[in-house]
Symmetry: C2
Subunit: 357 residues, 2 copies
């Protein structure tokens, strides 16, 4: 294992120290428990947006803390869920009286620990909403998940709902928008190489020089299938169709109800894409793939979308939700209406995503 | 070799097609000869900034074309100098009457071909200036270079001089600023792995599991020395000191003279860093190293700068001048006065670098 790290047990702490030193204008890092807040938190009267999850996916989530996006991020150890006290302390630190919205990627540990934190925060009189992100079209029920995994749509949801909160949406409106973004977003990922978790010291899985993994998760979880290595056009087309030809997806989610002070179950069905849709297209590097190769994938994706009558209204191309130094990429398509596009275009100032200001 | 590419001979063309499809609002791609211009080029009355070099360093240079940065970029094949006709055609396409400034990284092929292009453009009545970037503190005279190589300071020069051109600086003022940025910038790079040039199909060099290359170039050229693998703190300190303890650097450069219509030689001496300096600190991924590890390096860099009495006024952290999928990083420090900081902070809207608008 060769990485730019010191002691394995200090990896997350020292990366957070680096972020704190680099970006005091945007964010503030708190230790033990670890969480990152906006430099100007709490913002009075504004809904506070909180996300988190295992580390190793940078810039997500800590790099998306700042004006127009997250109020707080809670980083666990590498590929390990954060603990409830992290989200609970973060919620207390960033609540400006309008409540907090948790954006939770669908992994069993994350879901459980965010649920506990929601209950603790509610017990302190903080209004809470919690929206699950489960956008990965690759597999249903995986190594770490019941249902679909939460992947690339998380980045888009953080940006869009972050802008809505900035614009004065109340807690229910923010939750509704987050749910809509999740339901209209779908992703698929592939890997050319494994990543190496520092604490493990060796690659998570073996992948031959002549094969790639289709439908990979962001932690090196197994994908749909292992395939002979193929061209960018073949891989790009297979990825695009896995999203565009995916059927409706129905499952039951749990959301917090501030009236009853308890969880309620909701059945949700995500619609498939259809001709005439306009989308935000997000082509993401898993960490070790340079942006140049992402453009080869984007080229094919744009062609397939055009053939399917789907218009790419906006795009995002680069490493935003990574899997350490894994080589590979993911595609996320998000069906976008005027509300979503308006908040996508709104200013954002974070270390990882910045425009308009 | 596993990469997201199609036929090896189409790699550059197809990546450019992907960029053209993704960013029609910012740039326009021209083929045969290949060059990328601002979508709104030529901008009448504004000095036009042109750079270029071998492909494989993306987002540099094509990703830095747009308002507030480059007017044109000329991509060669991977790690291969662009030909004179690329820069000549680009110069004609973007000259808005105020002349064109070439920013040329110091590699023998780039220097020769930009010189030919400058002479051709001058012959067509276009005012020309050409500034050499030679900021790599690692080695003097390398595999592809007489003198120091041009690396990370190129990105900073493109941003800063691009903003100055936008603000109305004339050709001589832009050239003076570019020369100042180059003279005040110094870089050092390290590699943990080799990259693989598509046309070669195998890694450029072998590097053992227990060693790294100190002072590497951006094409896998040999560095200063091969060392046993070390911690982020040890590597970060050694890199920081290679820059901060570097002495004055004197060499003779050739610049174009529009009066005589010929090249003139100038002796330049770059000053070393000293206590009391303020700098822009740029920690760059070579492509395969994720941003999380860059923060571990930044953490140490900030500590060393503080110990040396050098104040980091601004920073840039991420993959901006890469070497395909190479794992490793580089540090660039640029001594910054008020003029440099003002243009650093100015708005920029390119695919690879964006803020303030």
């Amino acid at each position: 294992m060769k990485k730019l790290i010191n002691a394995v047990e200090d990896v997350v702490k020292e990366q957070l120290e680096g972020m704190a030193t680099a970006h005091p204008d945007m964010l503030k890092v708190h230790f033990e428990p670890n969480y990152v807040t906006r430099a100007d938190a709490p913002v009075q009267g504004k809904v506070a947006l909180i996300s988190g999850g295992g580390s190793g996916h940078e810039p997500m989530h800590g790099g998306f803390v700042g004006k127009g996006m997250l109020d707080a991020a809670c980083p666990g150890e590498v590929f390990t869920s954060p603990t409830p006290d992290q989200m609970y302390e973060a919620a207390k630190a960033v609540d400006g009286g309008a409540g907090v919205l948790f954006l939770v990627k669908n992994y069993t540990g994350d879901v459980l620990n965010f649920e506990t934190a929601a209950e603790l925060a509610y017990g302190d009189g903080i209004k809470v909403q919690s929206i699950l992100i489960d956008d990965d079209a690759a597999v249903k029920d995986s190594l770490y998940t019941a249902g679909r995994r939460g992947v690339g749509t998380t980045v888009l949801a953080e940006k869009i709902v972050g802008a809505a909160a900035e614009a004065g949406y109340d807690l229910e409106q923010c939750a509704d928008l987050a749910r809509k973004v999740n339901q209209n977003g779908r992703s698929i990922g592939i890997a050319l190489t494994s990543c190496t978790v520092p604490a493990a010291g060796k690659p998570t899985f073996d992948l031959g020089e002549d094969e790639y993994e289709f439908g990979i998760g962001i932690h090196g979880e197994p994908g749909r299938e292992r395939l002979p290595m193929a061209s960018a056009d073949e891989i790009g087309e297979k990825m695009a169709l896995a999203i565009l030809d995916d059927g409706p997806y129905t499952r039951t989610v749990r959301e917090w109800d501030n009236e009853s002070g308890d969880w309620v179950e909701k059945e949700l069905t995500d619609p498939p894409f259809k001709s005439g849709d306009q989308v935000i297209a997000f082509v993401n590097s898993m960490g070790g793939t340079p942006v140049s190769e992402l453009y080869a994938i984007y080229r094919k994706l744009a062609e397939i979308c055009e053939n399917k009558g789907v218009t790419i209204a906006r795009n995002l191309i680069g490493p935003y939700i990574t899997s350490l130094e894994m080589q590979g990429c993911s595609i996320t398509l998000l069906k976008a209406d005027d509300e979503i596009l308006k908040f996508w275009d709104a200013p954002v100032v974070t270390p990882g995503l910045r425009w308009g200001a």
